[in-house]
């Protein structure tokens, strides 16, 4: 049975190379109930190792670090199913450092 593939669009920005962010499309093999986080990790592994986004806990949405703008709505990468045509951008209104990584808000402040 041929594998089903879906297309995911991700906003890319390399501070060393790009003047402006731009959208890139990636094709991934669809798996049963695949989260967007898993899809992006798959893209990293198979297509684009430089794709950058913050993650840690992987599964249970306890780390709260993988927030992004997903097809126009703010949500966690780990809580959204990867579907064909989905578009992922960094959190709106924040300073974009690279790809989906925005400048972290320092809760405690670095003293020095």
């Amino acid at each position: 049975m041929p594998e089903e593939r879906i297309t995911i669009k991700v906003q890319r920005y390399d501070p060393g190379r790009h003047e402006e962010p731009r959208m890139e499309a990636y094709s991934v093999e669809k798996k049963e109930r695949m989260t967007l986080l898993e899809a992006l990790l798959n893209i990293k592994e198979t297509l684009e190792p430089g794709l950058s986004f913050i993650h840690a806990c992987k599964y249970d949405n306890s780390c709260k670090l993988c927030l992004a703008s997903i097809s126009g709505k703010v949500d966690y990468l780990c809580m959204v199913e990867a579907k064909d045509g989905i578009e992922v951008r960094p959190l709106p209104g924040r300073d974009v450092l690279r790809d989906l990584v925005v400048r972290p808000k320092k809760d405690y402040g670095y003293k020095g």
């Binding site: 390399d14 501070p15 060393g16 190379r17 049963e32 109930r33 695949m34 989260t35 990790l41 990293k44 592994e45 198979t46 684009e48 190792p49 430089g50 950058s52 986004f53 913050i54 993650h55 840690a56 806990c57 992987k58 599964y59 249970d60 949405n61 306890s62 780390c63 709260k64 670090l65 966690y76 780990c78 809580m79 959204v80 199913e81 450092l97 690279r98 990584v101 400048r103 972290p104 320092k106 809760d107 405690y108 402040g109 670095y110 003293k111 020095g112």
Partner: protein
């Protein structure tokens, strides 16, 4: 020196590396004792490690539910669970201090479940009495909440978030800080301190399937080892027996099956519907300890009695929907929204890498073998012996976090300030290394190299091992090490270059893989989580620990008697 590539040096009394449960508790304690504290984490304070993902049990012999319980029984249970290669001093300190440590954490704001004015304590496998604290179905989150509340009161603590520690700084053989990478700017940061605490968790990322975060890449083990501190018990890796395989859910903790079967019961069945655990543990059956469960489930799958997905069934439906609703309340809805209805169908589970019993060798003051260096939590070793009991991790991080913080603060007070800018050679070396990493070109992908290593570890160093397989895995390591040395990032910019940090993590992982494999090869017996099919056991002559020390041409391994005083 390239000023624009290095941040302003930081000076403090105590540097804590890793801001999970143990690290945060250490920082709080050191601060309480008047130390100037800096705490670094490659993610954020509280949320980047395993603590916040802890689902359920946190054990302490408070005696609130079973008055017969006391610390001595908890101590005995811990030793028995660890197959008697635990460090007795650590086990004693842990059992003695856990009740007051957890009660204090509750007062910080963790808010564990209560019955009246006493804690509601539950049972867990291997614990003779009910002594597990919990908070709904998210004990780890509750603990982090309490720690953050208390942490915020200590406004003098410098929190260095998104800061990856690279190497310990030594001065006359004493640990006096670390060179770190500020992920946001890509600059190096020299942190000088009078004492250092490593609380960086384990190295579960050595395996492809884990219950733990992607951040656990053994950074602290590697740093301590390279600085000359001893590691211990590296062969003992805990595989969580019932890691969730199917149905896949959104926002569902992969350890959900264990929490539910401890609380409301569950039956493990193979593809033929047989309850197989009594075969492997006639006394405990389904309530066998984690090492025996991992072994039994792995055997069933390996011998063709697993499900088509390569798992076994865990049937949690027994009590019926009413009783399950009563126990779990709205958690069932969260789980259902995520895609799993545990009241209707069995789930499929298999062992997944979960916890490292081994790590940096410490004594009961959390001192490592390197003066000025302390370790606590999963990064340290000795408490759990060959197999950790459920519930002992979430409470030990608080006991040892506090102990390490106190001891490090005392040591700092008695120690001179390290020489400022002792050496800029280290920084130059790291800048060259970063230059190479960021030089572009076809170096291969860190994520792909990590996957390759993970497959080797899963195949040869999972719950069931043998000498031939371990030796074969070691023969595969030079290729992986070679690939690791050639990693280069696709972007040349240092700004939040995650690929660069993944390449650095890959170095730590490949170093730790070799050490785990070699230690597993040396221990010629089966004991706890280390199941060698080519040897029987436990073997009384192997009532020892394997220590690891950096030699001139690689790791040196030494068997030493178990510390029983």
């Amino acid at each position: 020196m390239e000023k624009n590539r290095c941040g302003e040096p930081i000076e403090c009394d105590v540097l804590v590396i890793g801001a999970g449960g143990a690290g945060m508790r250490a920082a709080i304690e050191a601060s309480r004792r008047g130390a100037k504290v800096a705490i670094a984490d490659k993610r954020t304070v509280g949320f980047g490690g395993a603590t916040v993902t802890g689902l359920y049990t946190a054990c302490a012999a408070l005696g609130h539910t079973d008055p017969e319980d006391n610390w001595e029984i908890h101590f005995d249970d811990t030793l028995k669970g660890g197959y008697y290669v635990n460090h007795h001093g650590l086990a004693r300190l842990f059992a003695q201090k856990a009740p007051e440590a957890m009660a204090e954490l509750d007062s910080f704001g963790a808010d564990f479940e209560r019955r009246g004015d006493k804690f509601d304590l539950r049972g867990a496998p291997g614990h003779s009495y009910r002594r597990s604290l919990f908070s709904d179905c998210a004990t780890g989150r509750a603990m982090i909440k309490g720690l953050i509340k208390e942490f915020k009161k200590h406004k003098g603590i410098w929190a260095l978030e998104y800061t990856l520690a690279l190497e310990l700084v030594l001065d006359s053989g004493r640990a006096c800080g670390a060179i770190c990478l500020d992920l946001v700017s890509g600059k190096l940061l020299r942190c000088l301190a009078r004492a250092v605490i490593i609380a960086t968790g384990g190295a579960t990322e050595l395996y492809p399937e884990t219950t733990a975060p992607s951040t656990l890449t053994g950074d602290g083990y590697a740093m301590a080892y390279k600085a000359g501190a001893e590691l211990r018990d590296m062969e003992f890796v805990q595989f969580f027996p019932v890691g969730l395989v199917h149905p896949r859910g959104f926002g569902i903790n992969p350890t959900i099956g264990a929490m539910m079967r401890y609380r409301t019961g569950g039956r493990l069945l193979n593809r033929f519907g047989e309850a197989f655990m009594p075969k492997y543990d006639p006394v405990r059956g389904d309530m066998a300890l984690r090492d025996v469960l991992a072994y039994g489930i792995t055997r069933e799958i390996m011998e063709g009695r697993g499900t088509p997905r390569g798992a076994v069934y865990l049937d949690l439906t027994g009590p019926g929907p009413g009783a399950l609703r009563k126990e779990y309340g709205s958690y069932l809805d969260i789980v259902k929204a995520g895609g799993i209805d545990v009241t209707k169908e069995p789930i499929e589970v298999r062992p997944m890498a979960h916890h490292f019993m081994g790590g940096i060798a410490i004594n009961d003051k959390c001192e490592t073998s390197l003066p000025g260096l302390y370790a606590a939590g999963e990064a340290a070793s000795g408490l759990h012996g060959a197999n950790r009991l459920a519930g002992n991790a979430l409470s030990e991080i608080i006991v040892f976090g506090a102990a390490a913080g106190a001891e490090a603060a005392n040591f700092a007070q008695m120690s001179p300030q390290p020489k400022k800018g002792a050496s800029s050679d280290e920084e130059r070396l790291w800048l060259s290394k970063l230059d190479y990493l960021l030089s572009g070109g076809d170096g291969g992908s860190p994520v792909e190299t990590r996957k390759e290593l993970q497959n080797v570890m899963k195949t040869f160093a999972g719950p069931i091992r043998d000498g031939a397989g371990l030796a074969q895995a070691l023969n595969l390591m030079p290729r992986i090490e070679g690939a690791t040395a050639e990693l280069r990032t696709s972007s040349k910019s240092p700004i939040f270059n995650m690929e660069a940090t993944e390449a650095l993590e890959m170095e730590n992982l490949s170093l730790m893989a070799k050490i785990v494999l070699q230690a597993a090869l040396i221990r010629e017996e089966r004991r706890g989580a280390h199941f060698r099919t080519d040897f029987s056991g436990p073997d009384p002559s192997w009532k020892k620990n394997i220590y690891v020390l950096k030699g001139s041409s690689g790791p040196l391994f030494e068997r030493r008697r178990v510390i029983e005083n």
